[in-house]
């Protein structure tokens, strides 16, 4: 059984909570006591019917305000797949939450209200999905019951969305007309929309092909922890030296000729150990322990890769950064801690090139700072070399976070565009 992580985004009242509640309910991921508690709340509020949206509503503050304000994770499974939903609020003031939820998603589900059509918010959600490198985008045209199940309306929305999405880097775009409230095309094909030839949303989620989304070309192994057994009792382990980590790209095999960065020393992979014993190959996102044939010096933060396929090595990078905190701004000259793969360093903001309007994609080159929820293109200089790839090529070796050195809070999320061009 495979795992599919998807992020949901929708403007307030598009029906996102209802849709998630329905997916959980219809796939029997809702337990009776949870349903009872939701039914009780619905009754107390005087709702006409049980509000499935309440199922996805978490903390007390949110219950009081009746809205979702942070990323919440939900789980359900069908016989084919296990699903992890990162449920994120859609309003612009929660862009950072959307970015967070999208960072690990294989698929983004964007809701559009059939009556309202493609709004500024829908465009923003699609843009964020593409910026965060989510390979699959599914647009649910919701509330089809309120537009008389009209194929014409659905086609209009589809055409409009498509023309906008052409400007984005979306690899796989699909559409499903649904009614989250009544369940049409959510789990089963709807008898109300005979004209729709595609599959139901759940069927699509079960079938969408994600295995080839991973980078299986560029072998990247950031060393996380060095394993050296210390106990006296086992002499046979005396010389054991394993480099534990999680494969970040490509395929590693025993016998591969590899180079260790930053030292540049070369060796071959002697073995790849896992909980199931030695294996013949390892690929992302497997957590394994690599042993090398030679006694080279390797420590946490180093990167093992193929001799003829190396990442960029450098201290000057260009990246899109989303600013995540209301407490400060990102400005030229700012100094921050940076975490990239298993490596820490410090970063200096050399230049804020432009701020991007997430609604219009307009580039504001006169901008002096990025504040909460804003996204811009920056140049960074780091104190240590990073071993990186373009984010579009590899999300694991192309991403980083920025940390405030005083508060230790995570304040920025970065997606690497490449090394800074020398002018």
């Amino acid at each position: 059984m495979e795992l599919l992580r998807f992020a949901t985004a929708g403007s307030v009242d598009d029906g996102k909570s209802t849709l998630i509640g329905r997916l959980l309910y219809d796939s029997k991921a809702i337990f009776e006591d949870q349903l009872e508690s939701v039914e009780r709340t619905s009754r107390e509020r005087g709702d006409a019917h049980t509000d499935l949206a309440l199922l996805t509503d978490g903390l007390r503050a949110e219950r009081e305000q009746g809205i979702t304000i942070d990323v919440a994770y939900r789980y359900f499974a069908t016989p084919k797949r296990k699903f992890i939903i990162a449920d994120t609020p859609g309003h612009i003031q929660y862009t950072r939450n959307m970015v967070t939820g999208a960072s690990t998603a294989d698929l983004a589900l964007v809701l559009v209200d059939a009556r309202k059509g493609v709004l500024e918010q829908s465009r923003r959600h699609a843009f964020l999905a593409s910026l965060l490198g989510i390979p699959h985008l599914v647009v649910c045209v919701n509330k089809m019951d309120l537009v008389d199940w009209s194929q014409q309306r659905y086609d209009e929305i589809k055409a409009e969305f498509r023309s906008f999405a052409m400007k984005l880097d979306v690899r796989d775009l699909s559409f499903v007309p649904i009614s989250a409230l009544h369940g049409d095309n959510v789990v089963e094909r709807s008898p109300n929309m005979g004209w729709y030839e595609g599959s139901s949303l759940l069927h699509h989620l079960e079938e969408v092909h994600i295995a080839s989304d991973r980078n299986l070309i560029d072998a990247r192994f950031p060393v996380q922890f060095v394993i050296r057994p210390q106990h006296q009792s086992s002499h046979d382990l005396h010389d054991y030296r394993g480099y534990a980590g999680t494969v970040a790209g490509g395929v590693l095999k025993p016998g591969d000729e590899v180079v260790v960065l930053p030292s540049g020393l070369t060796s071959t992979i002697a073995a790849i150990d896992t909980a199931d014993g030695p294996v013949g190959e390892a690929f992302a996102p497997m957590a394994v322990t690599v042993r090398l044939a030679d006694d080279v010096d390797v420590s946490r933060g180093d990167m093992i890769c193929r001799v003829r396929n190396r990442p960029h090595v450098g201290q000057d990078i260009e990246a899109m950064v989303c600013w995540l905190t209301p407490a400060s701004e990102l400005r030229t000259g700012a100094k921050l801690a940076i975490k990239h793969t298993t490596r820490w360093g410090r970063a200096l903001v050399k230049d804020l090139q432009y701020r991007l309007d997430v609604n219009t994609l307009h580039r504001d080159e006169s901008s002096q700072a990025l504040s909460l929820n804003e996204i811009g293109r920056v140049r960074l200089r780091t104190t240590v070399p990073l071993f990186f790839d373009e984010y579009r090529r590899n999300r694991a070796t192309g991403s980083f976070v920025l940390i405030d050195e005083t508060t230790h809070n995570t304040v920025g999320a970065g997606m690497i565009l490449g090394p800074t061009e020398v002018e």
Binding site: L3, N97, T100, S103, Q224, R228, M286, A287
Partner: protein, 299 residues
Amino acid sequence: MTIAQLNQLESEAITIIREVAAEFENPVLLFSGGKDSVVMLQLAVMAFQPARVPFAVMHVDTGHNFPEVIEYRDRVVDELGVHLVVASVQDSIDAGRAVEQTGPRSSRNALQTVTLLDAIAEHGFDAVFGGGRRDEERARAKERVFSFRDEFGQWDPKNQRPELWSLYNGRHRKGEHVRVFPLSNWTELDVWRFVAERSVELPSLYFAHRRQVIRRDGMLMAVTPFLELLDGEEPFTELVRFRTIGDATCTAAVASTAGTVDDVLAETAVARITERGATRADDRISEAGMEDRKREGYF
């Protein structure tokens, strides 16, 4: 080249555990003998083998234990050669740090927070692994994998650090600590699948056995020396198993004939009530019970 979902969850948990071992000075893993903590410890073994687990485990002991669980705890710790710290709620009560509730419905569950926070301070633990899962309860659904606690051990749900990709930020000042939840993305069914696939031994309480119980608030409570009976409560013998194991006074059993891991898996796959709803007497107190307790520093 696909990776099965359980292996993917295992890899994610191992990545998290290794990251903590690499970045913190003095981590500890909460180990109660309950299945989530057993699975977490097993993953820690997998993360560092053939070396030993490089941190201690800690049991916050309410004193209201099932003897089978303590026997199990001591045996596992001994086999793995890990150091066990026992933080005792009784000691907190004796020292006047915590005040025992009285009466038949009293429980030491809430008192564990004091003992836990005191032990974290006393031993200087900077990272504390917990077996919490996001599917357990609504307040947990939004908690980070690396969940920051201030110098009072408090969690601020409105002020959580953003957590992107698998770039975990464990930075903290002296006196603060981070709770780490490697099983965040696991469901109860995943835990049982892991137990089955990896042949993990669990305390016998998890499998159907005959036991003296009483029925209270629709739940089956084990008759133990710690449970005060209410008027009209009549002990009877029932074939039961536990879905969670905690303090003996507030963990209920469920009627079950599931004697093996496979039987339990089959039951879990069709269970219609969450394990907390079915078996945690104290979580029923209020809707927001867990959120309040977590803010104060509970597991």
